[in-house]
């Protein structure tokens, strides 16, 4: 077996804390996807089941004052940052109690109190916006970081190159986190990037520090993020972290591909990735290291499940925005 010296450096408590956060993201996401089937959440939702370790690993490496931006598949980053399950569910149900008061829906989330500034729906937008927040920090001499989460398809947009070029010129404290889940909607990498493409090489050619990790390995994502964040805080300029991962459900909506008659990925391929489930891997690691036993993890999971159930019930029962407020907050 390959030696994994860095692993033992993560304290047990932190490991457990990250696992709890991972479980919260997973359990909430899974429950929301189930409820989504009832057709009561009228907002196109891109579920991130299978990709949770990327969000949790990166966010755990941040400090208060750092800011996070996300994209259309935003639930994981919002929840990992500590965004409220109740407000997320209420947003999906179109309630006034939603994090964006029912105006933004699944792709336009915010939870500024926990540093999750915003997600937007169009590919690559928040890559530039995060860069701008880092510019503000840099101009004011603040030691804060901006994190931008995006999928590998955003690396096919011009704004990605405009932004990383700018961040490199000005040595801005931005961590660009690419969640490479191999598909853009239903388009495979083969029609989008030349064979042999290494996104890290592209980032390095723009003078960014770049690392690629197994995005389903929570500890590996955390360690790489912490390492890159340290460099960012030392003023070493922007960094790129590519996390290899996989989305379990269809691009938008609550179904597995096979349930919806989608054929762009084989069932075998999906199932092989589900075997590499980030939650199961994290749990196995915790048990192997003796940080907690199976019963303790089950109790943790049950507690979160109860909290999530309570949150989604309350969200569903919450009031919709009053119709008289249609024009509020345009300016």
């Amino acid at each position: 077996m390959k030696a994994e010296p860095a692993r033992t450096e993560i304290p047990g408590e932190l490991r457990l804390e990250m696992h709890a956060r991972l479980l919260r993201v997973r359990i909430a996401s899974r429950r929301l996807a189930e409820l989504y089937r009832e057709q009561e959440m009228r907002t196109p939702a891109h579920f991130g089941l299978g990709q949770e370790a990327v969000a949790v690993g990166v966010v755990t490496a941040l400090r208060p004052g750092d800011v996070v931006y996300s994209h259309h598949r935003a639930h994981n980053h919002y929840l990992a940052s500590g965004g409220s399950v109740y407000e997320l569910a209420a947003e999906l149900y179109g309630r006034e109690a939603g994090c964006s008061r029912g105006r933004g829906g699944s792709a336009h989330l915010t939870a500024q109190a926990v540093g999750f500034i915003a997600s937007t729906a169009i590919l690559g937008e928040t890559i530039a916006i995060a860069t701008g927040s880092a510019l503000a920090f840099s101009m004011r001499g603040e030691r804060r970081l901006a994190v931008s989460f995006f999928g590998e398809a955003a690396c096919e947009e011009g704004i990605f190159y405009e932004s990383i070029n700018y961040a490199a010129i000005r040595r801005l404290p931005v961590l660009y986190v690419c969640e490479n889940n191999l598909y853009s909607t239903e388009s495979p990498l083969s029609v989008r990037q030349p064979a042999g493409t290494e996104l890290c090489e592209r980032a390095r050619s723009f003078k960014l520090k770049a690392e690629r990790v197994d995005g389903n390995d929570l500890a590996a994502v955390y360690e790489a993020s912490a390492r890159l964040a340290d460099g960012l805080r030392r003023g070493e300029g922007p960094a790129f972290l590519e996390c290899m991962t996989y989305r379990w459900l269809e691009h938008v909506g609550p179904h597995f591909d096979h349930e919806a008659g989608r054929t762009y990925r084989s069932r075998e391929e999906v199932e092989s990735w589900m075997q590499r489930c980030p939650v199961k891997r994290s749990a196995a690691e915790i048990i192997r290291l003796g940080v907690a036993d199976e019963a303790a993890l089950a109790a943790l999971s049950n507690g979160i499940t109860r909290d999530v159930e309570d949150a989604v019930k309350r969200a569903r029962a919450a009031d919709p925005p009053p119709q008289g407020d249609l024009y509020a907050d345009v300016w």
Partner: protein, 353 residues
């Protein structure tokens, strides 16, 4: 505005009024910075950013690569963190590259997060070109397109006084503001108060009072309208010129009050007719002052073709003072005396842009 007595206005150029407004705002608000291609050149956006660079230095006035869309997103991200960025485009045509950030993000930010993610007080300056072969992609005028979207304020200063006042208002607004500045106005001289003042958005200016015909003119067309009104006055026709100053929000009341008084309306705008600002004002009059109209509303806009480069074609492209006079006389059932062409100003612009 301060409680100080107003000092007398001096005559200064439009470009210097822009500069003065910018510098006064930057003095008050350390969060303001100016960026975009060429803002720190010695030529400094046709002279309008030179003084800001001299006084506030390269930390607050700095060049950028050609990256219009990301730069707009960067401005948004900085604004969300409490800064007040000014992004400048030496030609507003380049702003098409920034429409995703401007329209999908900046215009909607406040609304789409239910007011819980703050607002995006960015200012985007775009300069409109005209003449000397600026051609199809350096002489468009984007107010109609931009004003289409809720959440963006779009203003067009037509005088040195408003160049300063609208700049200062934009730099203390709580929402994104687009300032479209016409290149042909940069050398225009006019009275500008010395003190700090903000020209409020949504307040049109009656540039010249009149009773016979209402002429709503935007940006540079106000200059053509003034020449035309002078000629018409000699014919005993008193034209009322209204400069909306802000395209969105729009001061409907001032325009409607004038139409109700005169019963006749011409809209002279620098953009195209189709789905354009002139059509919007025509619709406004038709919906809200129809009984007062004594004849059809007429629009004077860019002709329905891209702007050509050749001087022979360009010379017949733009509506001018003579066009306004001819149309006004026609609407009043009068006939032009002699060749009106002689009234048009000779364009002294020397290029290259």
């Amino acid at each position: 505005m301060s409680g100080d007595a107003l000092r007398p206005a001096r005559n200064i150029k439009f470009k210097d009024a822009l500069s003065e407004g910018l510098c006064m705002a930057m003095e008050r608000d350390p969060g303001i910075f100016v960026t975009g291609i060429s803002v720190d050149y010695p030529s400094g956006i046709f002279g309008s950013t030179v003084e800001a660079l001299r006084r506030f230095g390269p930390a607050r006035v700095f060049d950028a690569p050609a990256m219009e869309n990301a730069l707009t997103g960067i401005a948004i991200g900085a604004a969300v963190m409490g800064m007040r960025p000014v992004v400048v485009h030496p030609r507003n045509d380049f702003m098409f590259l920034a429409f995703d950030q401007l329209i999908n993000v900046a215009a909607k930010w406040r609304y789409m997060y239910g007011g819980r993610a703050g607002s995006v007080p960015i200012v985007v300056r775009g300069i409109i070109g005209r003449g000397w072969g600026q051609g199809p992609t350096h002489s468009q005028s984007l107010q109609s397109v931009l004003a289409h979207f809720p959440g963006l304020a779009v203003v067009m200063p037509a005088s040195p006084e408003d160049a300063k006042g609208l700049t200062m208002a934009a730099l203390r607004a709580s929402h994104p503001v687009i300032i479209l500045e016409h290149r042909s106005l940069f050398e225009l001289t006019g009275p500008v108060p010395e003190e700090y003042y903000a020209t409020p958005f949504g307040h049109a200016k009656v540039v010249r009072p009149g009773v016979d015909l209402t002429l709503v003119a935007t940006s540079y067309m106000v200059q053509e309208a003034l020449v035309a009104a002078g000629v018409l006055a000699k014919e005993g026709i008193e034209v009322e010129i209204i400069d909306p100053r802000s395209i969105r929000p729009l001061d409907e009341e001032t325009i409607l009050a004038s139409v109700r008084k005169t019963g006749r309306l011409i809209v002279a705008d620098t953009s195209w007719e189709c789905c354009g600002f002139s059509s919007e004002i025509a619709a406004l009059a038709a919906e809200k002052a129809f009984d007062a109209l004594r004849g059809p509303v007429r629009r004077l806009s860019s002709p329905n073709c891209p702007a050509p480069v050749a001087a022979s074609l360009e010379s017949v492209l733009y509506p001018k003072a003579s066009t306004i006079v001819g149309l006004s006389l026609h609407m009043l059932g009068r006939h032009p005396q002699g060749n009106l062409r002689g009234i048009d100003a000779v364009d002294t612009f020397k290029g290259p842009y």
